[in-house]
Symmetry: C2
Subunit: 598 residues, 2 copies
C-alpha cells in the first residue's frame, strides 16, 4: 500500500458509516453514542438503536471510531491513542529507542535485488513513536495492578461495557479468571475483557499468506471484522511485508490484536523449522511487543515427548505452530526452546503487558483424534505454564480445539478449567463433524455455542473457507456473524444479565410488525432488509401486518394480534377476558372430548 | 405448469446428474448404486463415492431415481410406484372411486370468471389411478404390521438403509418409538424411518403462498431438497392450485410428503377461520390421504382453555395452524373440533396409513416464551392424543419448538419423551436466539444439533429467509445442508454405528491431500470445490501437498507428513521410532525445563 493508495477502508465507505449518512442521525435507526465514566477521557462506545416506538436499545459496540461521524478517521494517520494518558500517568513505563526494524522483518532477504532495503513506500506514515516498556522492576500488567487492588481506567472502561462493577472486573483479573489484553504500545485499542463472567467474545483471524493478499486488504478486513462485531483480531500473516502489515493493522485497530510470533520467526529462517533458534524467536517477540501486539499465541506446550503421541492420529498435527515446533524438536531431538525459555519469555511479555494465549499445538484436526492422549498431555503442560506465567504477572489464556464431536466437548472445558485454574479458555470452534468443508463456520458454530455456554470465554471464528482457501471479505463477515450468534446464544444460556433484552426488543418489534426496528436490531441489518425486500420489495410491505412467508391470511402473528384486539385491547385485558371465559368454560363442566367415550 | 412447460427439474440437469455425465461413471467420483434385499424388487439406493486410492465409501441417499442415469425420469409421468406390488400383495387394501376433485380444492371459487372449472392445463397428466384404502376392519399401518410381528418389505428396506436388523426396525415401530411414513397411495416413495434409534432425519418445507411461487417451482424445490439430503418434504402451500401442486409433488417424490391439511381447509372457507368446520376439515384430510400424503400435521393440542395462557407472551401464537385453531376456538367459544373429533380422525388416517405429526401450535416464537405454561400444557395434551392414536394403530410423531435458549432445550426433549412414551420428536430448530434474522438456519442449526443428540428423531429445517420471506432455491439448499450438518453431528454424538466412517474417510483424504476425494465426500462437493478454486484455481493445486490457506511452508499437515516420512515410513514405524527416541530421552534423565530452577 503506497501513500497515495492509502485510503479509508471500504467498510467505512458504507453509507451507514460515512459522516454524510450518519448525520441523518436517528433517521437511519441508530447512532454511535458514548457512556462517560469517572473522568472525561473515559468514554465507552455503544451502538444506540432508535426504535420507531420511541424507545431505544443499547448494544455493545466493537466498531471503533469508524462508525462515529464526528470522528475524522484516516488510515494513514491511525486512530487516536485513547489510552496513552492513562499509561503515561501510571509512571511505571518508559520510552526507549527500541529494536531497529530490519528488512528481514518484512521477509526481504539480504540477497534480494533491492539490496535489502525495506519496502519503504509501504511504511506506515503516521506520527513517529518510540516504543514503551515497563521500567526496571515494575510490573506493568493489568494482572499486577488488579492484584495490588488497583482499578485502572481500563478496568473501569470494561466494567461500563459489561454493565458490572469495576470491582468485579478487578477480582476476575486478579484471580486469573479473566484477561484484559492491553499492550502499553497499543494505546489506540478500546479496553475489553475476556473471562467466563463476562460476555462471550469473538476473535476474527486475518492475515496475508505466501499465496495471496495485500496490506490494504488486511487493514480493510480488520475494520470490516470489527464492524460486524469481532472483539479481537489475530493477524496471522505469513508472507512478505509482515512487519509493515502489522504496523498498519495495529495503528488502525480499535480492538486488541493477537499474533503467532512463530510464523514471523519462521519467515526469518526461510521457512526451515530446524533453523529456528530461541534468539530469533525472542527478537521477534520483542519486535512485535514494541509494535503493540496485545496477545501472542505461544506453542510452548508442544514438548518433544508428546510428538510420538500423535503418530497414530488420523490427521497428525494440524496446528501450524504445533507442527513447526514438533518438526524443530524432532530435527534436533531436543526439548522445545519455547518450553525451556518460558520464564524468560514471561519477563519480556510482562514488560509490555502482552497477554499469553497458550497455543494448543496438538489440538485434534479430525473427529477421530478428539480428546486423545496427545491433546490432554499438552493441556496438562499448559496448566503448568499458566502457573508460571501468573507468577510473573503475565495475563494468560489457554487455547482449545479444534475438531470435537458434541459428546466430547464438555470434557474439554471441564478439564481445562480444572488444570488451568479457571484461566480463560479460547477455542477454535470446535467443529462437530469433518464432512462439511465450505460450511465449517456452521459445523464449528454449533460446537462454539455449546462450549461457550459451558464456560469458554472467547471463540476464534471459523469461516466458510476453512480447509479450502483464504477468506475474502464476505467470508470474514459470515464467520464473524456466525460466531456472534454462538456467543450471544451462550450469553443467553448463561443467563448473562441484560443479554435477553436484545432478543426481547427484537421479538417485540417482530410481533408488532415494526419491520424497520427488526432490521435495525438484527445482528446484520443489511442482509435482513435485503432478504425481506427480495420477496416483498415495496415500501408499504415494511409496514405490512404480515410477513412475506405466509401472506396476510396465514400470518400467525397477525391472527394472534387480531385475537388480542377482538378480545380486549391490552394484554392484560385479553388475559382477563380469556381467563374469565375459561372459568365459565370450566364451571360449565368442561364438556370436552372424553377419550374412548366419544 | 402446462404439459408443454413440464420439464425435468433443473436439479437433474446438473452435469453430475444427467445421464451423459453420469455415464462417465467413476470418473466423476461417485455413482448411484443399490443394495438388494431378500427379493429382487427390494433395492435400496446408496451413493457410492469412489476414492482415488481405490477404496469406496457408501453414503445414505435421498435423491431418488433422479440421480440414476439408468432411470429415465419424466415429471409428467411421475416416478415408478416401487411399493405398489408390496401394498397389493398384502391384500388388505382396496381401490375405490374416491372423492371427486372439485374446483375449490385448488382454491378456485364458484364465483370466479372461469365458472369454477379446474385449472385443467395444470392437472397432472400421469397414468390414471384410483385411490386405495384399507378394507373394512383391516389395520393397514406399518404400526399394525409391526405389532403383529410382521416384517414388511418397507421395514426390510429401511433396515438395509440404516444398517440394522429388520427386527430392530419392527420392534421400534411396534413400540411407537419410530414411524415409517408410507401412505398406501404414495407407492413412489422409498421407505425411510424416523426414530431415535436411527439416523437423525431432516425435513425440508416447500410450498407456494398467496404471495408468490408456482407449481413448477415447488416440484423443483422438492427434487432439489432431496438431492441435498432432505429425508422428507412438507408441502405447505397456501395459495391457488394447492391440490394440483400436491399431486405433482407426490407423483414425483421419492421421499415421504407431509402437509398441514388445515391450511387447505382454510382456503376452502376463504381464509375465515371461524367458518371452518369439522366436515370441511375431514373432507380435506380424505382428499389429501387419497392423493398419498404420508404424514399430516394436526394441531389438535390447541385447546380452548390454553389460549388464555398465551396472553402474556411476548410473541403470542406463532404457529399458523395454532393461531387458526385458537381463533376458531375463541370465535365460537368452543373446544377445538380437532380435539373433539380426534378418534374419528384416527380412523381415517389408519385407513391409508397416514402418520400423525401432532403439531405444537403453542410453540414459543421467542426466547422469552420458551418452555412456558402454554407450551407444556399443549405437550401434555399431545401425550394424551398420542395414546389414542396408538390405540387406533396410527403411527405418530410429536412436533416441538421453536425458539428456545440452549439451557432450556434439554427439558423439551426429556419432557416430550416422558409424556409421549418415547414417540419420535420432530422439532423446528430450536432457534437459540432471536437476534439474527437472515441467519436463522444457523441460530436454529445450533439448537437442532443439540436436541437431536439428546434424542430428537427428525429436524425440520429453517432457511436463511425464516421470518423474512419465502426461500428460493439457494435458501432451500442452505437450509438442507445446515440441517444435514446438525443431524450428522448428532449421529456422531449418539455414537450411531458407522456414522464416523464418513468423517474418517474425509479426514484421511484431507491428511493425504487427496483433494478430489475431499470434494466428493463433502456434504456439498460443488461448493467445496468452488471455494478451493477461488484461491488456487489451477488444476495442479488439486494435487498440491498444501492448502491454499497457509501455503506450502506453513501447511501443518505437510509438516506432519514430512515428520512421518523422515522418521519412518509408516505410522507404526514412526511411532516406534519416536517412542524409542522418547525412551532414550527419558532414560537420559529427562533433562528438560525445570520450573523455577532455570
Amino acid at each position: 500500500m503506497t501513500n497515495k493508495d492509502a485510503r479509508t477502508p471500504a467498510s467505512t465507505q458504507n453509507p451507514t458509516e460515512t459522516s454524510e449518512a450518519a448525520e441523518a442521525g436517528k433517521s437511519i435507526g441508530w447512532h454511535k453514542a458514548y457512556v462517560e465514566g469517572s473522568r472525561p477521557d473515559l468514554r465507552v462506545p455503544v451502538r444506540q438503536v432508535h426504535l420507531t416506538n420511541g424507545q431505544s436499545v443499547t448494544l455493545y459496540d466493537t466498531s471503533g471510531p469508524y462508525t462515529d461521524p464526528l470522528v475524522d478517521t484516516d488510515v494513514r494517520r491511525g486512530l487516536a491513542p485513547l489510552r496513552e494518558n492513562w499509561i503515561v500517568a501510571r509512571g511505571d513505563t518508559e520510552e526507549y529507542a527500541g529494536r531497529p526494524v530490519r528488512p528481514e522483518d518484512d521477509g526481504i532477504k539480504h540477497t534480494s535485488p533491492r539490496g535489502g532495503l525495506r519496502n519503504l513506500d509501504a511504511v506506515f506514515p503516521g506520527r513517529p513513536r518510540l516504543p514503551r516498556r515497563g521500567r526496571e522492576g515494575k510490573a506493568v500488567t493489568q494482572l499486577a495492578y488488579a492484584r495490588r487492588g488497583e482499578i485502572t481506567p481500563e478496568m473501569e472502561f470494561v466494567a461500563i461495557r459489561e454493565n458490572v462493577s469495576p470491582e468485579v472486573v478487578r477480582e476476575e483479573i486478579a484471580a486469573g479468571r479473566a484477561v484484559l489484553p492491553a499492550n502499553v504500545n497499543h494505546p489506540e485499542s478500546e479496553p475489553m475483557i475476556i473471562g467466563k463472567r463476562f460476555l462471550v467474545k469473538v476473535n476474527a483471524n486475518i492475515g496475508n499468506s505466501a499465496v495471496t493478499s495485500s496490506i490494504e486488504e488486511e487493514v480493510e478486513k480488520m475494520t470490516w471484522a470489527t464492524r460486524w462485531g469481532a472483539d479481537t483480531v489475530m493477524d496471522l500473516s505469513t508472507g512478505r511485508n509482515i512487519h509493515t502489515t502489522r504496523e498498519w493493522v495495529l495503528r488502525n485497530s480499535p480492538v486488541p490484536i493477537g499474533t503467532v510470533p512463530l510464523y514471523q520467526a519462521l519467515e526469518k529462517v526461510d521457512g526451515k523449522a530446524e533453523e529456528l533458534t530461541w534468539e530469533i524467536y525472542k527478537d521477534t517477540v520483542v519486535e512485535q511487543a514494541e509494535q503493540g501486539v496485545d496477545y501472542m499465541t505461544v506453542h510452548a506446550g508442544v514438548r518433544l515427548a508428546y510428538v510420538p503421541l500423535t503418530a497414530n492420529r488420523k490427521t497428525g498435527i494440524v496446528s501450524r505452530g504445533g507442527s513447526i515446533m514438533a518438526a524443530w524438536c524432532l530435527a534436533h531431538h531436543k526439548e522445545s526452546f519455547l518450553y525451556e525459555h518460558f520464564e524468560e519469555l514471561c519477563e519480556i511479555l510482562a514488560a509490555y503487558d502482552v497477554t499469553y494465549s497458550l497455543g494448543d499445538g496438538l489440538r485434534p484436526g479430525s473427529i477421530a483424534d478428539a480428546n486423545d492422549e496427545a491433546q490432554f498431555a499438552e493441556l496438562r503442560t499448559l496448566g503448568e505454564l499458566n502457573s508460571i506465567a501468573k507468577r510473573h504477572n503475565v495475563q494468560t489464556m489457554i487455547e482449545g480445539p479444534g475438531h470435537v464431536p458434541m459428546h466430547k466437548i464438555k470434557e474439554n472445558i471441564d478439564l481445562q478449567q480444572e488444570i488451568c485454574e479457571e484461566a480463560p479458555f479460547y477455542t477454535l470452534g470446535p467443529l462437530t463433524t469433518d464432512v462439511a468443508p465450505a460450511y465449517d463456520h456452521i459445523t464449528s458454530g454449533i460446537g462454539a455455542a455449546m462450549i461457550a455456554w459451558w464456560g469458554t470465554a472467547m471463540l476464534c471464528y471459523v469461516t466458510p473457507k476453512e480447509h479450502l482457501g483464504l477468506p475474502n471479505r464476505d467470508d470474514v463477515k459470515t464467520g464473524v456473524i456466525t460466531y456472534k450468534i454462538a456467543a450471544h446464544a451462550a450469553d443467553l444460556a448463561k443467563g448473562h444479565p441484560g443479554a435477553q433484552e436484545w432478543d426481547d426488543a427484537l421479538s417485540d418489534a417482530r410481533f408488532e410488525f415494526r419491520w424497520e426496528d427488526q432490521f435495525n436490531l438484527a445482528l446484520d441489518p443489511d442482509t435482513a432488509r435485503e432478504f425481506h425486500d427480495e420477496t416483498l420489495p415495496a415500501e408499504p410491505a415494511k409496514t405490512a401486518h404480515f410477513c412475506s412467508m405466509c401472506g396476510p391470511k396465514f400470518c400467525s402473528m397477525k391472527i394472534s394480534q387480531d385475537i388480542r384486539r377482538e378480545h380486549g385491547g391490552s394484554r392484560t385485558e385479553i388475559e382477563e377476558g380469556m381467563a374469565q371465559k375459561s372459568r365459565e368454560f370450566a364451571a360449565a363442566g368442561n364438556r370436552v372430548y372424553l377419550p374412548l367415550a366419544d
